[in-house]
Amino acid sequence: MSDLRLVRWTAVGVGVALGVLIPALLTDFLRTLAADAAIAGLIVLSLVLLTGMVGQISFCQYSFAAMGAFTVGSLVAGHHWDFWLALLVGVFFAAVVGVLVGFVALRLSGLFLAILTIGVALFFDRFVLAAGNWNSFSGGLSSWRPGRPSFFGIGLRGEYAFYLFAFGVLLAACLLVWNLRTGKTGRVLRAVRESEVAASTVGLNLTAWKLTAFGISAALAGLAGGLAAVRVGSVSAGSYDFLHSISIAAIAIVFGAGSIASAPAGGIFLIFGREALIDWTPFSTQWFDVILGAGLIFQLVHAPDGVVVDIERRITRRLRPPRQMPSESEQRSPERVPAEVG
């Protein structure tokens, strides 16, 4: 057990150190990509919560991200709000939309939930973010151009500074989700996933917990959107469309929504994988989704719970051989149970 913890926290420490040091050596262009990877990691993390814990799939995480991004865009660029306040409002709006979607999704799961969330994503693409419908939010034909804020007096205009900020937000979010997962919230959500009838019979309010999960997940995605708005410096609908949601969901599944490590890994793969494809191969970016699809098939066959989850499981097994099931005959008979509970 303690071996396992040692390995886990060493891995986290090495990851954080590399995450800080490597971008210091990179060009500014690669640093912007690194920041994008951290932001995409946040969206994968939002699925680690929703899919990994409650078992609900979502193909509209970028619509939640858009709530964060366009709120920040319109408030900061359109109304000269302070970025931090706008970010807070954006995260809140995203959570509200998440709860609303969760409400419609309450009785759905699997294929029907997938279809519903695809519908939500298309509704955002075609209506909410489309020019002409709600220009005070979407910015109409022009995109919002919010400037970068400073963080406790430290300007985030430099690409390395901004990257470190985004990376820090991702780490903090991972820590919070880790805490949720290992605490009561994680237990309760997994119980809902395992058996809804048993969960409600032991006193869990399924509605409340599912909406909570959708709300937190959407808030994380909204946070990612708010950061993306100022990373890029302009907010346009194309960056938050349905196809982005599909790709990120595929990545969460390939890497494994059961593990928090899938968040940074998935973010890096999405951004740098696509970039590597353009730079080092004759293929265009469209092929990235083909590769992702092939990855999905490979993963479904060889590591049904996801690649990262599979690797973690192998390491765990090596460090801690599975305990033998005590056979029934070795068990003490229940008659000899002492009487100290009540």
Partner: protein, 254 residues
């Protein structure tokens, strides 16, 4: 006044009249048996009592209050707990976690407390774990606390269902075939476990099982259900000798 009081509860599924005018009382402190051939409607009755199904007509009162419109999780809060005939454990969670969940359900902690590991959340967590371990000890499952629930033998899974049901400190425990899949030795031990549970948890029980020896031994009062109707009720000796009951069971064998 009875703790659980059913008056003329009926429900049908398409062409099947699963329950017809079922009236039944369970008084505080009693162990009441509910027996009947396969498909008689016993599990359906449990589903109506716990709010998983809504009866077409009739009333279910608990502790003097009508339960119409009260959701399943609310009924748990009123002190009802049950086990499932078709084992509904949280399969991919540890044995310990399975028993902690009902305690979590009643604890005041919020996701905010969890996310920031507030002292109150950590305190609740420790308390829940301690209580869960005590219950596992009581049902002789402490040795397997860290295993996945889905990996246990059927006998242990049945005991885990019991531990989980007791975790919320219920007033009324509904047991749906707790002896199904147990060997003779385990079944014999189960009656004693039930007596010890009644003694220590001061809990009232409604017990469904096909094992006559167990039901006759454990119950103060027995109801017999056949094709959705109560065909007999009374103390174990009377029910055993009732010609209608013998007929219903013989009919099943024939």
């Amino acid at each position: 006044m009875a703790l659980l009081d059913l008056t003329e509860v009926s429900i049908r599924f398409g062409g099947v009249q699963a329950l017809l005018d079922v009236s039944l009382q369970v008084r505080e402190g009693e162990i009441v048996g509910l027996i009947g051939p396969n498909g008689a409607g016993k599990t359906t009755l449990f589903n109506c009592i716990t709010g998983v199904l809504r009866p077409d007509s009739g009333h279910i009162a608990y502790d003097g209050k009508d339960l119409a419109g009260v959701k399943t999780h609310r009924r748990a809060r009123l002190g009802m707990a049950r086990t499932f005939q078709n084992l509904q454990l949280f399969g991919r969670m540890s044995v310990l976690e399975n028993v902690m969940v009902p305690i979590d359900a009643f604890s005041p902690g919020t996701p905010v407390g969890d996310a920031f590991r507030l002292p109150t959340a950590r305190f609740e967590e420790r308390k829940a774990e301690e209580r869960a371990r005590a219950l596992l000890y009581f049902l002789d499952l402490l040795d397997v606390a860290d295993l996945q629930a889905g990996d246990l033998s059927v006998g242990m899974q049945r005991r885990l269902e019991l531990a989980r049901a007791l975790a919320s400190n219920p007033r009324l425990l509904l047991l749906d075939e707790p002896a199904a899949g147990l060997d003779a030795r385990e079944t014999a031990a189960l009656a004693d476990v039930l007596f010890r549970i009644r003694e220590q948890f001061k809990v009232t029980m409604l017990l469904v099982d096909h094992d006559m020896a167990l039901v006759m031994r454990a119950c103060d009062h027995i109801y017999v259900l056949d094709f959705g109707r109560i065909i007999s009720e009374g103390p174990p000796e009377d029910v055993r000798d009732d010609p209608e009951v013998i007929q219903a069971y013989l009919g099943e064998v024939a």
